[in-house]
Subunit: 350 residues, 2 copies
C-alpha cells in the first residue's frame, strides 16, 4: 500500500509539475466523470449497518459506551470528550487534553466516517475501529484506565450486564474489554456524514459553483488526489510529511517521527496516514500537530511540502472552496441515559 501509493504520488507530482503552466478547465460534466473515477460517496448509516451486519443492540450499547465517562479512571472523560458529536467528531483544539490535564501528542482525528479509513490513528497503528477504541481508554495521557477497571465497572452495573448479554448472545461472559471495543466500533460505524454537496455533485443531483469546480480541478491536477482520494478523500495510505520540503518544526515537530515508531523502518520516518478530508472545514486546527487553524494556510502548506508548488492565492481559495463541499449531514444522536453505578462500581480516581 505504502510503496505503490508513494509511487503514484511521485508520478502525480511529476505529471503535475510538467503540466502546471497550463491546466485547461474541463466542463462540469467532464469533472464529474473524472471525480467519479477518483472518489466514492459516503453512504447513509443504514447502508453501512446492513453491509456490516451490525445488530441494533450492539450499536445502541456502543452509543452508551461512547458517552460513558466511567470507562476513564477519573470518570469524567469519554470517547465523546475528544471526538465530540457536536463538533465534527473531534475536539477542535491542537492536541487533546486528558487525565490530569495532560496534553496528548497529536490532534484528535474525527470519528465521523472513520470506518472508511484503511487504518486508524495518524500513524495507522490500529487496523480498525475496534482496535483503536482500546487505545485511548488505556493511554495514561487520555482516559488512563485499564481493561480490569473497565470490566470491573461494567460488570458492577446490572443494566450493562444485561445489555452486553443481548448484544453478544451466546457468550458465557459477555462483559469484556474486547466486547466493549466491538460495541464502540459498531456505534462509530454509524457516524457517517452522507449528502455533502460534493456527493450530490458526484451523483449528478447538484452542481458546484465555478470556484468549487476550479478547486476540484486543481485538487486533482495539482496532485492532491494522489494521497487524498477514495471515499474519505484520504485516510487510505501513508506518506512522508514533507515529501518535497519539510515544514517548520511548529507544524512538524521533530520528536514525533510518525509511523517510524510503529514499523521501526527508516523509510517510515515522519510518515503519516494522509488525512481524510471529509468535513475538513469543521475540524480545525489541522495536521497531526494541530498547529494550523486556517484551512487555506493548511492547503498552502500541503502545496509546498507535498507537491513542491507555491500555490497562488486564487488556487488556494479555490481548493479550499472545493474542500468546503465535503461537509455532509452531521449525525443526529440522542444523548444516551446511562445506568447508575452500584456500591461495587470502582470509584473515580483523580
Amino acid at each position: 500500500m505504502h510503496k505503490s501509493l508513494t509511487t503514484a504520488l511521485c508520478a502525480a507530482v511529476a505529471l503535475t509539475i510538467g503540466a502546471s503552466t497550463a491546466i485547461a478547465q474541463p466542463t462540469s460534466a467532464e469533472l464529474r466523470e473524472m471525480a467519479n473515477r477518483l472518489f466514492q460517496p459516503i453512504p447513509e448509516a443504514e447502508v453501512v449497518i446492513k453491509d456490516r451486519k451490525l445488530s441494533s443492540d450492539k450499536i445502541e450499547l456502543g452509543k452508551w459506551l461512547f458517552f460513558e465517562p466511567r470507562l476513564s479512571k477519573s470518570n469524567i472523560i469519554s470517547c465523546n470528550t475528544c471526538h465530540s458529536i457536536g463538533t465534527g467528531g473531534a475536539d477542535n483544539i491542537p492536541t487533546s487534553i486528558g487525565h490530569g490535564w495532560q496534553h496528548g501528542p497529536r490532534n484528535s482525528p474525527t470519528v465521523f466516517n472513520a470506518v472508511f479509513n484503511a487504518a486508524q490513528f495518524w500513524d495507522g497503528r490500529a487496523a480498525d475501529l475496534k482496535e483503536q477504541a482500546k487505545g485511548p481508554v488505556q493511554a495514561s495521557v487520555e482516559m488512563n484506565a485499564t481493561p480490569k477497571h473497565v470490566e470491573d465497572t461494567l460488570r458492577s452495573i446490572p443494566e450493562y450486564v444485561e445489555f452486553f448479554a443481548k448484544a453478544f448472545p451466546g457468550e458465557q461472559q459477555a462483559v469484556t474489554f474486547d466486547n466493549m471495543a466491538s460495541a464502540i466500533e459498531a456505534f462509530e460505524s454509524t457516524l457517517t456524514t452522507p449528502n455533502s454537496r460534493f456527493d450530490h455533485f458526484l451523483a449528478g443531483k447538484e452542481t458546484l459553483n465555478g470556484t468549487e469546480l476550479t478547486g476540484l480541478n486543481l485538487f486533482v491536477n495539482k496532485g492532491c488526489v494522489a494521497c487524498h482520494s477514495g471515499i474519505n478523500v484520504g485516510g487510505q495510505g501513508y506518506f512522508p510529511f514533507g515529501v518535497i520540503k519539510k515544514p517548520g518544526a511548529d507544524v512538524l515537530p521533530v520528536e514525533d517521527r510518525g509511523r517510524f515508531t510503529v514499523t521501526n523502518t527508516a523509510s517510515d520516518d515522519y510518515v503519516f496516514r494522509a488525512g481524510p478530508l471529509r468535513n475538513i472545514a469543521l475540524t480545525a486546527p489541522y495536521f497531526h500537530s494541530g498547529e494550523v487553524w486556517d484551512l487555506e494556510q493548511a492547503v498552502a502548506i500541503m502545496g509546498s511540502s507535498q507537491l513542491g508548488h507555491e500555490l497562488n492565492s486564487d488556487d488556494v481559495k479555490a481548493i479550499t472552496a472545493f474542500l468546503h463541499t465535503l461537509t455532509g449531514d452531521q449525525p443526529q444522536v440522542t444523548y444516551p441515559i446511562l445506568p447508575r453505578s452500584t456500591s461495587a462500581t470502582p470509584k473515580p480516581q483523580h
Copy 2:
C-alpha cells in the same frame, strides 16, 4: 423563607421526637392524601415552556450553548461536562473538575428540575438559573472564561449571531453574555423529569409497594419533610447542616461555611439549601462535599445530624426505597451540531 422554614423544621423535629416510639402505618389512600398536601408532581417540559412563555428559538439556542465548549477558556468544558444529560444532570464525582484539572469546592448539583428550586447553588447565591449560568463560565476553577471571551467567541460565528437575533428579536446587539445566560436558562427549564412512580402514585395512577409506602410514611413522620417538601422534595429553603449533631469533617468540611459566605450572617454558618431529592438515586455521591456514595448511608447521616434519630436499618432501607420512586423520565436530548469557528474566534488557552 429561611427563618420560617427553620421554625417549621424545629417544630417537625420536636413533633417527631415525641411521636417516634409508635408511628401507626396509614393506608395507601391516606398516605396519598397526605403526600398530595406536601408534594407536587413534576410537569412535562411542554407545560413548563408554556407557563414560562419560552420561545423554541431561545430553547434551541440554549441547547447549543449548554453543549458549547468554546464558552470555556480551554474550549473543552461545557455546562454538560458537570451537568451531564446522560448521568442524572450531574457528573457523579465528589466535586467537579474544571480548568487545569482543578477541583471545585462542592458537588455538582443536578440541572434536572433545577427550574423548580427556590434558588440555585448549594448556598442559594443565585436567584435563578439565568444568574446561575453566569457563575461556572467565569469561575477560575471551572470554565475560567470572561464575559468578553464569551461575547467575542459568539460574535465571531455567523450562525450564532443569526440565532441570537432570532431568539432575542428587536435587540440592537443580541449577542451578549446576559442573553447567553437567558438562553441557557430557557433550555435548562425544559430538563424536567416527569412520570416518576411517586408522581404516578400522587395522581392515583399507580401504587407503591409496602416498603416504599413505609418509607414515605417515615419520610413524613420522622421529619425529613420539614426540609424536603414541595415539587422538588427539597430545594426550597436553607438549613444548617448538623442542626442536631454536626457530621464529621469528611462530610462537612470546616472550611466550607455555606451560606455564611453569601450573607455574612452568623446564623447562616454551615447553612445550605436543602438538597432537592428528585432523581436522587442517580446522583451519587451525596451532600455538598460529595463524600458519601451510598444513599442509605446518606439517609442515616441525615437522620442523626438533622433529626437526632439513629434510624434503624429497616427504616433507612424503607426511606431509601421511597427515594428511589422519585426517579422520573430522563430528558431525551438530541446532541446539537455546533457551528464552526472562524478566524476571528478566540483560540483555546490551556
